[in-house]
């Protein structure tokens, strides 16, 4: 099932990229059009040979796929092949992964208490105010949120650093550590996610709180906060966890904007550059990495269901 999905994604991307333009131009530049000059013609022939461009599409796909599964992602067209795509990934991927992890972690860390508080006092003042807030975060485009947060927390309050330096160390709590530099971008990504998670959690929690076993828990004298967090929360997490997996995909789109705005040289920036340069192998590899991550994450989510509800275990 998941493998099929990955194959489908790769074929579509492969086909789309093939129709986009002539990769020869991307590899060789203007030289590619100059078939008169024998020296250039030789270059063209060599490139065709090297990148299998003279082969029909299905064969090219098969060759690429064969290489891909062995970890050979090919070379970048636009940089004369150096570093290879895998090198680019090795450099860019961790940054984006760090950003995503932090964003998802923050989203959950915000959404869970937020959802619990609003559900326990549904339709109260706090709940109403929070409904407004969450819809605002969801409807605000990423770049707008980025600008607002940047303006408030980096420029005005100066609580958080305003730039990301790929060369700074990661772990540490000063402005010269990437962990801190990532907070603002991660928040930009996390707030819409947190809002969605909070809405879902709140709705599910309100339903759970009507359950008999909640009344039973209260009747046996379990304190209120414990009823909420120990009895009600876990059976109310299903929607959140499902969307958590799916949202990871949407987050990539958000990361694109956020990485560019905050100048983080990650996968998002790489993909934009690669698409603009029609750098075929790079786009393909990045798409595949993202799709694989998505599939794996959703597999983990499936496993997590069984942890949430022992009745699903077989």
């Amino acid at each position: 099932m998941m493998i099929l999905l990955l194959i489908a994604v790769s074929m579509l991307t492969f086909a789309a990229m093939s129709f986009l333009g002539d990769p020869l131009f991307n590899i060789l530049g203007p030289v590619a059009g100059d078939t008169e000059n024998p020296e250039n013609l030789a270059k063209i022939e060599a490139a065709k040979e090297q990148y299998y461009l003279d082969k029909p599409l299905p064969e090219r796909y098969a060759r690429w796929a064969g290489d891909f599964v062995t970890g050979d992602f090919g070379v970048q067209f636009s940089t004369d092949g150096q570093p290879p795509v895998s090198g680019l990934l090795k450099e860019r991927l961790p940054r984006t992964l760090q950003l995503m992890l932090m964003a998802q972690f923050l989203a959950l860390a915000i959404a869970i208490p937020w959802g619990v508080v609003t559900a326990s006092r549904a339709n109260g003042v706090v709940d109403r105010a929070s409904t407004f807030t969450s819809f605002m975060f969801v409807s605000l485009p990423n770049f707008a949120l980025a600008v607002i947060l940047f303006y408030i927390f980096a420029l005005k309050l100066d609580w958080l650093p305003d730039t990301y330096h790929a060369t700074d160390p990661f772990w540490g709590l000063t402005h010269r550590h990437r962990l801190v530099q990532l907070v603002l971008p991660a928040f930009t990504l996390a707030l819409p996610g947190a809002s969605v998670y909070q809405r879902l959690l709140r709705t599910d929690l309100i339903t759970t709180l009507q359950e008999d076993f909640i009344l039973m828990a209260r009747a046996k004298g379990v304190p209120k906060w414990r009823v909420l967090f120990r009895h009600a929360l876990r059976p109310s997490m299903f929607s959140v966890i499902t969307i958590f997996g799916i949202n990871a995909g949407a987050l990539i789109g958000g990361a694109l904007v956020v990485e560019i705005y905050f100048r983080i040289p990650g996968v998002g920036t790489a993909i934009v550059e690669a698409v603009l340069r029609e750098d075929f192998p790079v786009v393909l590899a990045l798409v595949m990495v993202i799709a694989t991550a998505f599939v794996v994450l959703n597999f983990i989510v499936d496993v997590f269901y069984t942890f949430l509800d022992p009745r699903v275990r077989r």
């Binding site: 359950e211 008999d212 076993f213 009344l215 039973m216 828990a217 209260r218 009747a219 046996k220 004298g221 379990v222 304190p223 120990r230 009895h231 876990r234 059976p235 949430l308 509800d309 022992p310 009745r311």
Partner: protein, 356 residues
């Protein structure tokens, strides 16, 4: 000294207790000026059709009605202390235990049995984990669960309905409450299991000298397992008497109709059932006079003009024409002759049918 005095007092003294819910149509009086006493060690059967206010009465007493539309009034003294209109959380599980109708939904499906029993043990008795486990196993043994040490590691869905209800009883009794509210504890269970659970409850109640309210819509359930029976209708007490008296000489037409309408546990197959005609009263706009009058075969004009008061004494009932008296015989005769009651309910030799 005070404690010695207190022990002769009833555990629970309920006076003119009212619970209402604000609705769009007006105030729904789910419990309407109910008064009764519950002695230490007494089991009171609270009987009535669905919607008669049994659950709201008991949850109200405990302060566990989770609705911000709820208002309560009157007086409920538990161990001498006023319960009405204050937070009663300190009583939950510690002084008053509660078990519910549906053991399938009343246990947390994603928490192990053991943990669900440990909670009240640790919360109220301050036991540590090891002590709680030992005590939990004792409790499960007391409620008749085989292999308790294995059970505490299981989830509710791995147990049968009857076993789950036993677990619920163990949880409710964990902190040794002085009073147990058993709200239709066997309604959701298989008939064959019901009897065992009911007898177990009665046994545990007697052994512990604990007071208990046993809520049921089936008068037969109360027989032999309760000391007194209180019959409710439309939020009001209709009849209240020692259990033997209720069965030997019931006075209220509703009690009579109730007994005839429910299959009893004992002879489920052989008795002919007579359903009570009509539907329970609208508690927002109850019928004038006696609430049961639209469905009562004895109803006379007086019944629609005036609400009968509960009399005082050991056998209380609220009816102008109590069953088994000459007055009621006359009333019935009159209604039979004219083919209908004062409220237009058709009666006669043909099976009674609801009017309207």
């Amino acid at each position: 000294m005070a404690a010695a005095d207190a022990n002769n007092e009833p555990l629970l003294v309920v006076e003119d207790y009212e619970v209402g819910f604000r609705t769009e149509r007006g105030l729904a009086r789910a419990v309407d000026k109910v008064s009764f006493e519950l002695d230490r060690g007494e089991t009171l059967g609270i009987v009535g059709e669905s919607g008669s206010g049994k659950s709201v009465l008991n949850r109200g007493i405990m302060g566990l009605v989770s609705s911000n539309r709820m208002i309560e009034d009157g007086s409920v003294l538990f161990d001498g202390g006023q319960m009405v209109n204050r937070n009663r959380q300190e009583f939950w599980g510690a002084k008053i235990g509660m078990i519910f109708q549906d053991p399938m939904t009343s246990l947390n499906p994603v928490m192990k049995i053991g943990k669900q029993i440990f909670e009240p043990l640790r919360q109220h008795l301050g036991l540590d984990k090891g002590e709680a486990e030992t005590r939990a196993i004792e409790l499960l043994t007391q409620v008749g669960i085989p292999e308790p040490a294995r059970r505490i590691k299981q989830y509710p869905h791995e147990l049968s309905g009857g076993m789950r209800q036993r677990v619920m009883i163990a949880i409710a009794l964990a902190a040794e409450p002085e009073m147990l509210i058993a709200d239709e504890p066997t309604t959701a269970l298989d008939v064959t299991v019901q009897k065992y659970i009911l007898d177990l409850l009665r046994q545990l109640q007697l052994d512990r000298g604990m007071a208990m309210t046993l809520i049921t819509h089936d008068l037969g359930v109360a027989r032999g397992r309760t000391d007194n029976v209180m019959v409710m209708y439309g939020g009001r007490v209709m009849e209240h008497a020692p259990t033997d008296t209720i069965f030997a000489e019931m006075r209220h037409p509703y009690t009579e109709a109730l007994l005839a309408s429910v299959p009893s546990l004992k002879h489920a197959k052989h008795t002919r059932l007579t359903p009570i005609p009509g539907a329970p009263p609208d508690i927002v706009n109850p019928p004038p006079g006696c609430r049961f009058s639209p469905r009562c075969k004895y109803a006379q004009p007086k019944c629609t003009e005036q609400a009968p008061e509960l009399n005082e004494g050991e056998h209380r009932y609220a009816c102008f024409y109590p069953v088994g008296t000459d007055a009621s015989a006359e009333a019935l005769e009159k209604n039979m002759a004219q083919g209908h009651t004062a409220t237009g309910l058709k009666i006669g030799l043909a099976p009674a049918k609801a009017a309207g």
